[in-house]
């Protein structure tokens, strides 16, 4: 009898499980979901509400995996080569270019399926990359903490009023832009960054720290631990939301950086393409510039007023060859660490 009861319970459980599987099977097969590999601040501050709208419009659910930086994202993408757990990867243009040299990682952009592709501004696309926004790499500062309440040039950061007050990006952050800016200021170039590294040695005393994580540096700026952070324009908005008044200036030379999306090879390229088309749409681009304080890449959307204020003046902006940066960054980093380390 006991055996019979056990058998009945087992049969009943099996029937329930089988029934559930039958019911869930077609639903699971129809489930439409993509996963983004994205920075947490970009997700929380910008994409999350837009993704909810995207899901409502298309029925495609959006999940995320977090990357600490573009470089770390590339390590992840390379590690999951062939069987990625993400479908759309947010990254910097230079890092996307590096990833594109591995034919097994990125799917080509299906240009014919992207109705908004034709509206992207020059420089914002490549065969495997669509820019989501651009920004100047510049100086974000606390007017209440800097001498005179204002900064107008890079050279001022080397001055006496900033001792132990600067948060500067390490070479692995912004793909070595700090070294390149310093090189241009010191008469060097992308082909000769040695004068720039020598110049950075002279700012050692003023640098409180070299950051590899922008939340840590933002926190330090918010707390007055430092008065200046060299970074992107989105920091202005993030800190303003926390009630911290900061200003930004993009003096000459002002690198312009594109960040955007790539589609990872993994079988969901069609769903991912729909998401990419939304990213570059007028509606999303308007939100990107107004809410996130970044430059819109859709030519039909003008930069928001606040963002226009931080753009470099005509002739002050510079761009660099991403391939050259990718080839040389490791060498620059080694030289930098030798010069800056204790």
């Amino acid at each position: 009898m006991r055996k019979n009861i056990g058998l009945r319970i087992a049969s009943g459980l099996f029937a329930v499980l089988a029934g559930t599987a039958l019911l869930a099977g077609p639903a699971a097969a129809q489930e439409k979901k993509i996963t983004l590999l994205i920075w947490s601040s970009t997700w929380n501050g910008l994409i999350k509400p837009l993704a909810e709208q995207f899901t409502k419009d298309t029925g495609i659910a959006v999940d995320i995996e977090v990357e600490a930086s573009s470089m770390e994202g590339l390590v992840k993408v390379q590690a999951m080569r062939g069987k990625p757990t993400a479908d759309v990867w947010f990254t910097a243009q230079g890092v996307a270019e590096r990833a594109a040299s591995d034919p097994g990682l990125l799917a080509p952009m299906p240009v014919d399926k992207l109705s908004n592709w034709k509206d992207i501004i020059p420089g914002g696309t490549s065969p495997t990359f669509a820019a989501a926004y651009y920004y100047p790499f510049g100086i974000v500062y606390r007017p209440d903490l800097v001498p005179g309440g204002k900064i107008t040039s890079w050279e001022e950061l080397w001055g006496p009023g900033f001792e132990n007050k600067l948060a500067l990006p390490a070479p692995s952050f912004f793909s070595g832009r700090m070294i390149l800016v310093s090189a241009l200021l010191a008469g060097g170039s992308i082909d000769n960054v040695d004068p720039g590294i020598e110049k950075l040695k002279k700012v050692k005393k003023n640098a409180a720290f070299w950051f590899t994580s922008d939340p840590q540096a933002r926190k330090a700026l918010a707390q007055g631990e430092v008065s200046v952070m060299v970074t992107s324009s989105s920091t202005v908005k993030t800190l303003a939301d926390q009630g911290v008044t900061v200003k930004m200036v993009s003096p000459k030379p002002a690198p312009i950086i594109f960040e955007g999306v790539t589609i990872l090879k993994g079988g969901k390229e069609d769903l991912a393409a729909q998401f990419v088309n939304y990213v570059i749409s007028q509606q999303w681009q308007k939100t990107i510039t107004e809410v996130w304080n970044m430059g819109p890449v859709n030519k039909n959307v003008p930069p928001a007023g606040k963002f226009a204020d931080v753009l470099p003046k005509d002739g002050d902006a510079v761009t660099f060859n991403e391939t050259t940066i990718n080839e040389r960054l490791a060498g620059w980093t080694e030289k930098f660490n030798q010069a800056i380390g204790q």
């Binding site: 930086s69 470089m71 770390e72 590339l74 390590v75 390379q78 590690a79 080569r81 590096r98 040299s101 591995d102 097994g104 132990n164 007050k165 390490a170 070479p171 692995s172 640098a207 409180a208 720290f209 070299w210 950051f211 590899t212 840590q216 330090a220 707390q223 007055g224 631990e225 430092v226 960054l329 490791a330 980093t333 080694e334 660490n337 030798q338 800056i340 380390g341 204790q342």
Partner: protein, 284 residues
């Protein structure tokens, strides 16, 4: 021959094989060449990655800095940890023992990131210590984003490991030895210096070895409290992955740092055996 004991070992053998396989793969990669732009590597086997790392001034200075800082951190941990372990082992005050133990357990259980940020609040430019100095009319000092901050953070992290390891050794020293020495007229200090300390040296070396190993592999505190200036092995390996993407070279760098760390730990192990023979009468 009974098979059962060997069958019971299977899960352990499987787990060990998994770790060993990962390590062997890592070593194999270190002898290969990176295919530019990809995560792929190819043969034939070469020592080029090892030559490149050995020739790198940054790798050499990092190795020296890592050994120097790990030594300093271990020394400071021992100086701070020994009295705490002694209090835990010998204090007659239950309250004091509980307080020390509570402090250590709280440290042990709190997350590394939390502790690193807590130290930034205390040691930062506008931290509690500097605010105190300003209030006293004194100039501020740089305690964070440099070696000082990293050493403080790592020593705080290592302290529970050191104290709890040493505590077991101190508790194994018979109290009767100390009481006999006291009965024969030795002062407390003399008893400590001539009885407790020599007998605890093997335990001290064990605890120091554990701390040294922990200090050698420090990553989080140099990353958050070093301000980009303090280059310890783990951080340089991490940064090299992020900027070079040359996995074979990074694997060679990690392997060389590992060899260096193992050599240092073997030296400490030999010291532990010698001190056990000399001071604690061990026969092994």
């Amino acid at each position: 021959m009974p098979l059962r004991p060997y069958l019971l070992l299977l899960p352990a053998i499987a787990a060990f094989s998994l770790f060993a396989a990962a390590f062997v793969t890592f070593m194999v990669v270190s002898f290969q060449t990176a295919t530019p732009g990809t995560v792929l590597t190819h043969g034939p086997a070469t020592f080029a990655n090892y030559s490149a790392v050995i020739a790198s001034p940054l790798a050499r200075s990092t190795a020296l800095a890592t050994l120097r800082l790990a030594g300093l951190m271990t020394l400071l941990t021992a100086l701070l940890g020994y009295p705490l372990a002694y209090v835990l082992a010998r204090s007659t005050s239950r309250l004091l023992r509980r307080l020390v133990l509570f402090g250590l357990i709280v440290t042990f259980l709190s997350g590394g990131v939390t502790r690193a940020y807590a130290w930034l609040i205390i040691l930062g430019n506008r931290g509690l210590l500097n605010q105190m100095l300003v209030a006293l009319g004194l100039p501020t000092v740089r305690l964070a984003y440099n070696e000082t901050g990293v050493v403080i953070g790592v020593v705080h992290f290592l302290l529970p490991f050191f104290v709890l390891t040493l505590l077991a050794a101190l508790k194994n020293i018979p109290l009767s030895l100390e009481e006999s020495a006291r009965n024969l007229g030795a002062s407390r200090w003399r008893v400590f210096w001539h009885v407790v300390l020599p007998l605890s040296i093997p335990g001290l070396v064990s605890a120091a070895s554990l701390s040294f190993a922990g200090a050698l592999s420090a990553f989080l505190f140099p990353e958050l409290l070093g301000g980009g200036r303090v280059h310890m092995a783990s951080n340089v390996i991490f940064e090299t992955i992020l900027t070079d993407f040359n996995l074979p070279r990074v694997a060679a760098m990690a392997a060389l740092f590992l060899v260096l760390a193992l050599a240092a730990l073997a030296l400490l192990g030999s010291l532990e055996r010698r001190t056990a023979k000399l001071w604690a009468g061990a026969t092994r």
